[in-house]
């Protein structure tokens, strides 16, 4: 089909051809973090059900969550949540018709990425400083 066009430019937005730009990164990350949070919903529900099943089951859950792989997953989910939430605000602003200017969209993409990282670090700092994440099991 493509052979009838002599124009060498790409026919469709294709990630291997397009130069990466920050609005594209934010867009892809929004979908990626959304899918990751779908998995996070299982972790959240498992936490709720574990709490309902009693102290023994809950202890098993917190032991798993407090292990190194568990903490890595939880940190990743925190980052996905912070990014998806902040970038979601960006989408809601767009829905109102504002913020579509090229420079504004690029700046807000950078802002959301940086803020998501800072917020994640802040949440984990709060969890560890005095509050003691690993005491969750009781």
């Amino acid at each position: 089909m493509g052979s009838q066009f002599s124009d060498p430019r790409p026919l469709s937005p294709f990630t291997t051809i397009w130069r990466w730009h920050i609005t594209m990164v934010a867009s892809i990350l929004h979908r990626l973090s959304g899918v990751a949070l779908y998995g996070g919903a299982f972790v959240f529900t498992a936490w709720l059900v574990a709490a309902a099943m009693g102290q023994t089951v809950y202890g098993r859950f917190t032991a798993l969550a407090g292990s190194v792989p568990g903490l890595v997953v939880l940190f990743g989910l925190t980052l996905a949540l912070c990014f998806h939430l902040l970038n979601g605000v960006r989408h809601l602003v767009w829905d109102s018709g504002a913020g579509y200017e090229k420079q504004t969209a690029e700046r807000s993409a950078w802002a959301v990425l940086v803020l998501a990282l800072l917020l994640t670090v802040a949440i984990w700092a709060a969890a560890y400083s005095g509050l003691g994440l690993l005491n969750l099991g009781g």
């Binding site: 899918v35 309902a52 989408h91 809601l92 509050l131 003691g132």
Partner: protein
């Protein structure tokens, strides 16, 4: 000459209009308020252990906040993954994945409701 009903309603062959679009944004707004609220409560309760967590989930405020949060979250992720599936998968696999998405989110919601009911009324 009469105009077809489906054209009047603007629903097209999917028999569904902007319902998902609107619902995705309404649940987003609810989550925008409740997720930070929940996170704040959660971080504050981290050092209270099992007893503190169950006491909070068993309080009217904690239970209702968690119920609304989990409901909005599951409604939001159900629509979200539906869009992803529709974008990347076609044919029979799409039908199967859409069905799985619907059943999984329903099961997840029921599990969360069961947990909250058990904590609050289970004795």
């Amino acid at each position: 000459m009469r105009t077809a009903f489906k054209i009047v309603t603007g629903l097209g062959p999917a028999h569904d209009g902007v319902g998902h679009f609107v619902r995705q944004r309404v649940t987003a707004l609810v989550l925008l308020v409740l997720v930070p609220l929940f996170l704040f409560q959660f971080l504050a309760s981290l050092n209270t252990g099992y007893g503190g967590v169950v006491a909070w989930l068993g309080s009217p405020f904690g239970a209702l906040l968690t119920l609304v949060l989990v409901s909005a979250m599951i409604a939001h992720m159900r629509i979200g993954l539906r869009v992803v599936i529709e974008d990347y998968v076609s044919g029979g696999a799409r039908r199967l994945l859409l069905l799985l998405n619907a059943l999984t989110t329903l099961a997840l919601w029921l599990a969360a409701v069961y947990a909250l009911v058990k904590i609050n009324f289970g004795g």
